[in-house]
Each structure stands twice: as C-alpha cells, then as structure tokens.
Subunit: 345 residues, 2 copies
DNA sequence: CATATTTCTGCACACGTTAACAGTCCATTG
DNA sequence: CAATGGACTGTTAACGTGTGCAGAAATATG
C-alpha cells in the first residue's frame, strides 16, 4: 500500500540503499550490471522517487512560480492563457508550474528560496515593486515579463510596446488621418504609458498636435473602451481615427460606433493592440498590433531554467518586436477620400 | 545566508527544537508565555518553515494538480482562464496550484500521492480515461470537471449541457424556426454529444425532423465555425437558424454570414454556447448559453480540499445549470414574419 | 609475492520537521 | 510527608533521499 522506496529496492537487490540511489542517478561509481539489475527491479516496482525527500536534501523545490499581479481582475483571458502556455512549454516536465497572484499574499514571508526554485513575474503594475524587492533580496532567480525595471540586476523581457504603438499610429497618419484619438490603457500600467509614448511620437513626426480632448482614459476593459468611444463621439469635433490601447477596448469602441450608426472603417477608423484570438473574426476584422506574449513567456521561462542550472543571474532587457497586423478596420478618412477624388477629376 | 530553522530559534529561546515546533503549531502542550516568546523570535528572524521537510514527515505535498487534457490546442482561452481562476479562488493560499497537461506525461508513473495531495481534472476528451484510472488506483483524491464518468467512485461536476442546448434550441423553435441547423462540437468530446442531444430533444418535442444536411461538423475553433457556416450557406435549402455548439464557432459563423451578405438576425438567426467574454460586445450581441465554468471549477476545488481534509472520497454527480442569455443574434425567421404580417392585414 | 591502484560498495550522517514517549517540576490530595 | 496527577519540556527516532569517507575486492605494478 505505501509507496516503494529505495530501501525496498535495496532489500530485493541485496545491496545498500546508497547503491540504489547511486544506480538510479546513474553515478559512475556503480558497476554497469548492478545498475541494470537495480533499474529493472525499480521498474518492476513502479518506483518513483519521493520528491519531498529529494527536495529536502538537494535544496530544490522543483517549483517554478508564475506570478501575476492579480488573478481576480484586470487580466484578459487570452493574455493569461498565452502566458501560461508559453511558460508551460518551456519548462521541463519534472518541474511544477505554480500559478499565483501577488495579491494572494498579505506579506511575502512565505515566499522563500525553498518554496520556489525560480519565479516568473508577469508584471502588470508598478505596485509589483515590493514583490520584486522581496524576491530579489532572497536571491530567488527572477525574470520579469512585460515591464522593465532598470534595476541593473534583473532580466526583463517585454514587447516593444512603444514601437508597436508607433507603427499603428504612423499607419493611421499615413492613411491621411489628422484627427486621431487615443483610448488609453489602465492608469499605472507601464504598457499604457509606453503605448501612449509611441502614439505621441508618431503624432509628432507627422506634425499633428496632441489634442487633449482626443486622449481619453480607459482601463483595458471592453466596457471602458465602449465608454471612452461614446465620450469621443460626443465631442463637437469628432476624430476620424482612434488608436485603442488594446483589442478589448477596440471591441467596445466598435460596438459604440455601430450603435451610433457609424460604419467602420468608412466613417471612422479603429486600430487595436494585442491581436486577440477573436480580432480576426470581428466584422470588420480588426487592424491591430501583435504582441508576442507566448514567445515572451516561453523565452523568459527557458532563460530562468538556464539561470537556475548555472546558478548565476543574468541582467538584461530584451525587447521582442510587436508587429502591425493590417486588416479591415482602418482606411483613409472620409474627407480625404473626397478630396483625392476631387483632385482626380 | 542560509534560511533560519526551528533549531536556530530553539537556541535563542533556550528550548528544544521540539518545543519550537509545538509552539509554532499552537500545540496546547506549550505554556502561553513560552509560545509568545518563541513566536516573537520567529517573527524577528523572518522564520518560514521548510515545506519540503514538512511534506516529508506529514506526507503531504501541498500541491493541487489542475490537469487539462492538453494545453497546446483545443482549449479556448476564456475557458482556461475561468477554470484556473475558479480553482485558484477556492484553494487555500498555502497550497500550490500546479497546472499540467495530461499529454505532458509519457506514462503516469511520476504521478504519485506524494506529488499531489489531490487532482482536479478539467476533462475534455474520453481519452482521459487512462489518466483517471491511473489516479484512482493510486488513491489520489480526484474531482472530475466537465465530463461525467459513472464509475460510481468519482465526484463529477459539470454544466448541464444537454439542458442548456435544449433551452437554446427550444428558444429558436419557439421563435418560429423550422429549418434549424447545428454546428457540432469537437468529435469525441462528451460536451459535443450532450449538446447535440439537447438540441435533438428540442427538435423532437417541436416535431421538427433532424435533417442530416443541417448537422455539420466543427471542432470548437473559430475557424471551424466559419467553415461549417459556409457549408450550410452552400446548401440548396438554407437553414433559417443555426445553433452553434460554442461561441467561438458562432463568431466564425457570423463572419461567414456577413461575408455572404446575410444580416444577423434579420436573415439568419445564430445562437452560441458558453457566453464568452466578448459575446456581449459582438454586433449583433450574441444570444448564447452561459455555462458556469468558474463556479464548476471553484466548487470542485473546494470539495477536493474538503475530501483531502476528511480523508474520504465522495462519489456524486453534480449538474450546475446552464442558462440561456437572450441578446440580439436570434429573432423570428424572415418568412414567418411576413406570414404573420400578412395575417394581421 | 607484496604493494599500489583502481573499482566498486556500505556505513553513517545530514537535510528540517513532527510525534511517541519519557521525564521533570510543582501543586494537590489523603 | 508520601503519593498522585497535571502541566510542561526534552530525548529520540522517523520520514526518504543524497554524499563524504572508509573499506573491500579485484586488478595492475614492481
């Protein structure tokens, strides 16, 4: 009934448990034939080592913590799924991928180098800094995804949000838009700031002044995109194009447009960010920016595994390119088309 | 540098490590003042118990495995997210929620009652049976979500798919539709079969014969919904309403309709299943069936925790109601409206 | 043949915790 | 005053592994 241990195997093989341990770990000290014999017995008994005992003596937990700022809200499901999947893919099967929210912990005392061999933090808020400090002072290997902290001591991996937003905004400008609005991301999230920066940079290069009325708040929720769009449509002078800081908000925005009787992209152009699972299947299909979340996550996980093996920490910031995906939700502005047509005639 | 242990505390408090252990576990054997003194020292040293050592002696891993059939494909992100979130919510913070795919394991030898205190299986395929057998023969507490196995020994928790599909199909019939098609779920998935059953039952009650041309295959992907719809639209006699076995496929189907110049719900009615995060924000908003995934998962997790505590297994099948959410993607059929209008005049 | 060397195996302990059992001390009882 | 019992605390072993060191056996070396 109780699980078989190396001692059971030792008895059957008439050797000491030490020899069994060595044989199963393929130590060069053990005779080939003895190894063979022991392994066969182990197989026969369906032996599987007790991880707790191993952990205790080897000082490794075989746990990799995948932490999110919170699991209760503010995370989109596609984002979550891709992150988990990326990490899962890169982690050897003998490790446990443990999902946690930072807000599970009243304090970080219980997080020790015994409980996690390494931690992947999918960081979504500047509030995570306390957590980062706690983890680094305990010398637990850490990779930080999605946000950069130029601590000089951390491995950061993130999408180039600024460049991504820049290409999206530039695309709108090149289509001929001059009245371009932005629905911003959740306040306090670094990604929100970076995307706005990229947007602003493109505006500046095209010599389009940043109209404060055209910069409306959002929080990455579908609903907030809907609300923000209604505010924009209530303006005396409406924008002809809107850059939404993520796809969820673009969904909401599109809904608001349709309710107002506006056709996308004929009357108003929309661009999103993230390339959600569903974005290609909207009508019109959403032009957006693809952020390689799964790649970020898997890259982070495999670097973490490496760092654990080598017992060294690497400090570096890696930006993975975000790529504009052109579909149907953005087109040349109404007016501009008229003007061009008139010019042709 | 090395973490503090109860022995360190013992030295400082001039007691034996046993006393420390008892004090920290709030044993009634220890004097109040002694407890106090010891706890203060423990706090001061930021003591946190070594979980591996605890696990070894208590024979509990503090790991709860959350298994999916696979993590690489075939799982929708909202489904995944809600499942994880539900389990996470119900599990005490000192447990680790470990995410695994069944297909991570070439064989199940490494899954022992030492590695998991309990297992939650979000089962999506009949192929999971081998896994279920392996887990139960090892006497690891198990709850089975989303599928039922009337093994007599298992706790099953799932949505009442049949009833849900039945209400959706009945709704379409009551709207006046007679030419109703179904886009089916992934072959081999029990949910696919149950939904089709519910659909068929409603058809039967309304004395609508099941037209084989109107039963088209899908696999729960957006793309498969799109493809299936195109097949339906290519039929000589088109359906006036389509029940899609999940929302993802409904998305694809809606896209196909629009491309064909058909308006939803004016020309064709669509109903989905799952109530995805985005379904309410489609245009038209999708009428669908809400399946309480997060509730299923959290209910399963808390029952599992209970079972682990009491060291007993409960065998039961719990069906949680799936509820029709009426929005805008289904309406009375074209023809029927005309007929009714003529009758009124 | 004696000694040195290589090859293999076992003893004993360690990891950090819990728990059965055995004391110790003090107060209460007869 | 001895005996009994209650309230604590300590001794010791155990959980299942891995590892330094010592030792045995086999082989090579002189």
């Amino acid at each position: 009934m109780t699980a078989t241990t190396i001692k059971d195997i030792a008895k059957l093989a008439r050797v000491s448990h030490t020899t069994v341990s060595r044989a199963l770990n393929d130590s060069p000290l053990i005779n080939r034939e003895t190894k063979h014999r022991i392994r066969e017995i182990a197989d026969r008994l369906n032996y599987s080592p007790n991880l707790s005992a191993k952990s205790l003596v080897l000082d490794r937990s075989y746990n990799i913590g995948l932490f999110f700022s919170t699991l209760t809200s503010g995370t989109s499901s596609t984002f979550f799924f891709e992150t988990v999947r990326g990490a899962h893919r890169a982690i050897p099967p003998d490790y446990n991928l443990v999902i946690k929210g930072i807000d599970d912990y009243p304090d970080f005392g219980k997080i020790t180098n015994k409980s996690f061999d390494g931690i992947i933090l999918m960081s979504q808020s500047a509030d995570d800094q306390r957590f980062i400090d706690a983890v680094t002072t305990k010398h637990i290997p850490l990779v930080l995804l999605n946000r950069s902290v130029d601590d000089g001591m951390l491995l950061n991996i993130l999408a180039d949000d600024e460049q991504g937003a820049y290409s999206a905004a530039q695309y709108l400008a090149r289509l001929g838009h001059r009245k371009i609005a932005i629905i911003e991301g959740r306040p306090g999230f670094q990604s929100a700031a970076r995307r706005k920066n990229g947007f602003a940079k493109a505006m500046q290069e095209h010599e389009i002044p940043l109209n404060p009325d055209f910069c409306v708040a959002g929080n990455y929720d579908v609903q907030s995109g809907y609300d923000a769009m209604r505010r924009l449509l209530g303006l005396a002078e409406r924008p002809t194009a809107v850059f939404c800081s993520n796809d969820d908000m673009a969904f909401g925005a599109m809904k608001a447009c349709m309710e107002a009787g506006l056709k996308v992209p004929e009357h108003i152009s929309l661009v999103g960010f993230d390339d959600n699972h569903f974005s290609a299947y909207l009508t019109p299909a959403l032009t957006t920016v693809r952020r390689p979340i799964e790649l970020i996550s898997s890259e982070g996980a495999s670097r973490l595994i490496q760092a654990i093996g080598r017992k060294e920490t690497i400090a570096e910031t890696i930006l993975l390119g975000a790529e504009l995906v052109i579909r149907q939700s953005a087109a040349a502005p109404y007016k501009s088309v008229d003007i061009m047509e008139e010019a042709h005639e």
